[in-house]
């Protein structure tokens, strides 16, 4: 793979849903045409049902007054999704998770060795994809490198705090600001930039992305307490089992400091711990933080001065708020 070039037949401006389809098709095409040694693995990956949340953020941020996005958004979205997949493949090796996005994880279906190399390879392809639009959008290429570094740093910071029952909320927010929100930032920033925003506006929209990412991660944490494996399309509670501190648990620990022992797993089973956090309203309290972010985002969206972009970003926010509401109501 050298340079990734889009089909010339694709018009310069397209709708969001066309861009989303073209990006999915490009990933499928890349995965179907990889060199022989990696093809069985990428063909397997192509079966996964990714939600494409980062792509959705990127495209919403790129939307213009005519409700269209430039075709280059396809490449930027593809690069970000590929990098995201690379991190998932490596995460699954680290966490020894057996399934992901409804399919067997790479390390489970193939081997740890192949999973590590596959993640590296996906990272290479993501980098190639970014290179292919370096020239028109230098700012994206530079900030992409920074964003992916931040993802790694967030993951290290998280790891350093495993089983840290005294972790404060600020440290938690710093962790997810890196491990999750950095990619949401670059998605929103890239979309805005490709959609024609100047640097200042792109950074502003990038910050909306950051906060959407924070919400997304907090709600993802809540899923461990609310959904079972089939609903979440991945093993739930593995983070909890591995000592990863999440917001509902941190909230519960504030209310019940006696839970702050070296490792609550020594006293409780994972299911008991989950129930205890739930009983202490850990999820509801986490959602109060979500609502604070949602208010901030809503205000920021209102000042953008571009109705279709505002509507699209607000719709993404609304779907997160809706999920948060459902978690507030009752346990599934």
């Amino acid at each position: 793979m050298t340079r990734i070039i889009l089909d010339e037949q694709i018009p310069k401006k397209i709708t969001i849903s066309a861009a989303r389809d073209f990006s999915a098709a490009l990933i499928h095409k890349l995965f179907a045409n990889t060199p022989k040694p990696i093809r069985p693995i990428t063909e397997h990956l192509a079966k996964a049902q990714g939600k494409g949340v980062r792509t959705a953020v990127l495209l919403a941020a790129a939307l213009d007054e005519s409700e269209q996005v430039p075709k280059d958004t396809i490449l930027a979205a593809t690069a970000i999704e590929l990098f995201h997949m690379a991190t998932l493949v490596h995460d699954d090796v680290i966490d020894e998770a057996d399934s992901r996005r409804g399919i067997a994880s790479i390390h489970a279906k193939f081997s740890k060795k192949e999973a590590i190399i596959c993640g590296d390879y996906l990272f290479c392809v993501a980098t190639s994809t970014v290179s292919s639009i370096y020239e028109p959008y230098k700012g994206f290429a530079m900030k992409f490198s920074t964003a992916v570094e931040r993802v790694c740093l967030g993951e290290l910071r998280q790891y350093a705090n495993n089983y840290n029952m005294n972790m404060n909320i600020q440290e938690y927010l710093r962790i997810i600001h890196g491990k999750t929100a950095a990619l949401f930032f670059i998605s929103a920033y890239a979309g805005a930039l490709i959609g024609g925003a100047d640097e200042q506006q792109a950074k502003k929209i990038g910050r909306i992305g950051t906060f959407l990412g924070m919400i997304f991660q907090i709600l993802d944490d809540c899923k461990d307490y609310m959904l079972d494996e089939s609903q979440a399309l991945k093993p739930t509670k593995t983070d909890i089992a591995q000592g990863v501190m999440n917001l509902p648990m941190l909230m519960a620990l504030i209310k019940e400091p006696t839970l702050r022992i070296a490792n609550p797993k020594d006293l409780l089973t994972i299911d008991q711990l989950v129930n205890e956090v739930y009983r202490l309203n850990g999820v509801k309290d986490a959602i109060i933080i979500v609502e604070k972010y949602a208010k901030k985002i809503h205000k920021m969206i209102d000042t953008l001065g571009n109705i279709p972009k505002q509507a699209a970003l607000q719709a993404l926010l609304d779907s997160q708020i809706q999920l948060a509401e459902s978690f507030k109501q009752q346990k599934n």
Copy 2:
């Protein structure tokens, strides 16, 4: 880390030894100034004694008639060394090797999790470094992506052939063409390009790099049969223990097909296997292949029409030939 910029005080043209020192200093500076979550790991990595073979190839390929190289070679060499280090960190996780370059491996000193993320992080920094010289040397950035993809593919191809006693020499050469020679190619190509060569000349010098990489890998394979751990600065024979097929073994298998059983480890200890391959002249026969490549390289060097570049590349070749000679003489 966003953009990596060289000290303006560094002259535009410098000697090879200055460039080598500046690149080592840049890596040390990057490692000493990483963000807090990764700093203990990069500070540990900074203690490693890398040989900088790829840097040496890059600088030799960049040399001009005044025996100097452009300062941008520092960034290109740094990017390649960082990527190489990323692959070593991941390799050590895969192989569960405990030491590397005279220090404890990252996964041994820290954890598997941190080692995987650290490799990813180093890859990010390498990519940032490449981005920082994208504009003057687009060809390098594009070919760098391709080279790192080839490294991954070579490693996958190697893995697919573990314990494959029927593997032929051609497949072996294809594997090392990717896993090792691809980085030697990009080193030589980048050096030539930055040194002012046109695309055609840079590719030609790149091919010299490829062949030097093939020799380097074959001799590295031979070390498992010739050196002990302290001489090799890493655990020896782990590749053999893990079923990685190498040239001395393939050569021995041609002579003694009875060794072609599913897994010779079932019948022999690793030391017995090593001695058997040595007894069957596996090392000497592998060195015949090295000598064939050396002849090719020598001819290619002779046609370059730049005396200092020719002398520097020939010196690199000579040091490999010298190592090969020492292996031919006797077992250490």
